[in-house]
């Protein structure tokens, strides 16, 4: 019954269902051990691994999704296709994902070119990024970071799932030291800590 209930809850939830939430809900029906829930989840994950629908851990929760192998046929359900992401959008998103919290000026310094409002606007609109606050420097620019929706939409468990960027961080710190970027004092501190969800 446990894994049945887990299946049903995940299917019925309109967003990825977190482990804690799942456990709390299961507890309401009968006492259950975390380890049992964990075990059930991983056997379900395995069970669905080779089917048309798969159980995936994304953005801190569990969700049923169609298998990537079926993408071509499922796409046909809709007349419109999702627009392709431009390189500028992807580059901006990648920088925000790794450098968060970061400002537009910092992104521009890294890309060596202006970041238009429509790029930031497009990312905000897709809810992949959000404004985390304002940076305490003249002009008080917005600080951007990624949203949970970014993880969900790109099928990532957490930010740690992003390709390793240690190399990148080093290169970047060096660069910041040498180039004297617009806001060098504040911006270096962002590189020291790992981005968090």
């Amino acid at each position: 019954m446990l894994s049945k209930n887990i299946e049903a809850l995940i299917l019925a939830s309109d967003e990825p269902l977190s482990f804690d939430k799942l456990r709390t809900l299961l507890e309401r029906v009968e006492p259950v051990e975390s380890s049992d829930v964990r075990a059930a989840l991983s056997s379900l994950e395995e069970y669905y691994a080779d089917r048309g629908i798969q159980l995936k851990q994304v953005g801190g929760g569990w969700q049923f999704r169609t298998a990537p192998a079926c993408a071509n046929i499922v796409k046909q359900l809709w007349q419109t296709r999702p627009p392709r992401l431009s390189r500028s959008m992807l580059e901006t998103l990648a920088i925000i994902a790794y450098q968060q919290p970061t400002t537009r000026a910092e992104i521009e310094a890294l890309r060596g070119i202006k970041v238009s409002s429509s790029i930031i606007g497009g990312l905000l609109e897709r809810r992949w990024i959000k404004v985390l606050g304002r940076k305490d420097v003249p002009g008080r620019p917005h600080l951007y970071g990624t949203n949970k929706k970014f993880l969900e939409d790109f099928g990532l468990k957490s930010l740690q799932d992003l390709p390793d960027s240690s190399q990148l961080m080093e290169a970047n710190i060096e660069q910041q030291e040498k180039l004297n970027l617009p806001e060098p004092t504040e911006s270096t501190e962002h590189n020291e800590h790992e981005p968090e969800a």
């Binding site: 990537p68 993408a71 580059e91 790794y98």
Partner: protein, 267 residues
């Protein structure tokens, strides 16, 4: 390094590019993501050592690309020009004996900062490509969007969300920005009907192309009218006149039943 869709552009661009002053076909800057992107492509394509960039060569190649794009919009041009002057400055500093040294007495290569910037950007460029490969929702993988559970369950109704509503409408508006903004009329329209419409309109005298299309309510109507015009032109019932490139296009009825069939429309 990276095999992207820009290959064509690159091939054009690098064809015949030697270490001497290159002869370049015009290259669209839109195919680059900025000055750093141009430099990286130049360096990687020609297998230059990024830690020992030949400044003279790269500068002249970069300038050639910028030169062939003189009519850039001003905003864009700024960054490209700043990079051009950075490159020229580095080029001349490379000619001087090195004088700057760090705390340990080692000579500082004037190119260091640029190299660091290029490497950092290259990392992000690769990460962006990797990010694009991830199975993305609504492109590669799909989730359930309606939740009709077994009838035994009563589901609370969703709550109102005004911001969501406005954002959703904004999205719809944006998506159809290029289309007609007022009511969409879903009537079927035939080319035959539009042929008649165009012919009748032209019987009152010549018309500009855009005048004819102006009153059309929907994308379908525009397309149908356009097809009608093409059909009439093909049958030499009308003539299409354009005196020069990008000038207005004038449509007139051919002098009916006369022997002007050989008269070539010159658009």
């Amino acid at each position: 390094m990276q095999q992207t869709a820009e290959n064509n552009v690159e091939q054009q661009m690098f064809a015949g590019m030697e270490t001497t002053l290159p002869l370049l076909p015009p290259v669209q800057l839109d195919s680059f993501e900025g000055p750093l992107d141009i430099l990286l492509q130049l360096i990687r394509k020609q297998k230059m050592d990024i830690f020992d960039i030949p400044m003279a060569t790269i500068t002249s190649q970069y300038l050639a690309i910028i030169d062939s794009n003189k009519e850039l919009n001003v905003d864009m041009a700024g960054e490209y020009l700043v990079m051009a002057s950075t490159l020229m400055q580095l080029k001349s500093r490379m000619l001087l004996p090195r004088q700057e040294v760090d705390e340990e007495g080692n000579e500082i290569d004037p190119r260091d900062a640029l190299v660091a910037q290029l490497i950092a950007y290259e990392h992000y460029r690769m990460l962006a490509e990797e990010l694009d490969e991830f199975p993305r929702i609504q492109r590669d993988v799909f989730k359930r969007s309606v939740f009709p559970e077994s009838e035994h369950i009563e589901r609370p109704l969703p709550e109102a969300d005004l911001e969501g509503l406005l954002a959703a409408f904004g999205q719809v508006l944006k998506r159809m920005k290029s289309e007609v903004l007022h009511r969409v009329v879903l009537e079927t329209m035939t080319v035959r009907e539009q042929i008649q419409f165009v012919t009748e309109a032209l019987q009152q005298g010549s018309k500009q192309f855009h005048e004819l299309l102006h009153g059309q309510q929907s994308r379908e109507a525009l397309v149908t009218t356009f097809l009608a015009i093409l059909e009439l032109w093909r049958q030499h019932i009308i003539q299409v006149i354009q005196t020069q490139n990008n000038a207005c296009i004038t449509l007139i009825l051919s002098v009916s039943n006369q022997t002007d069939i050989g008269a070539k429309p010159n658009a």
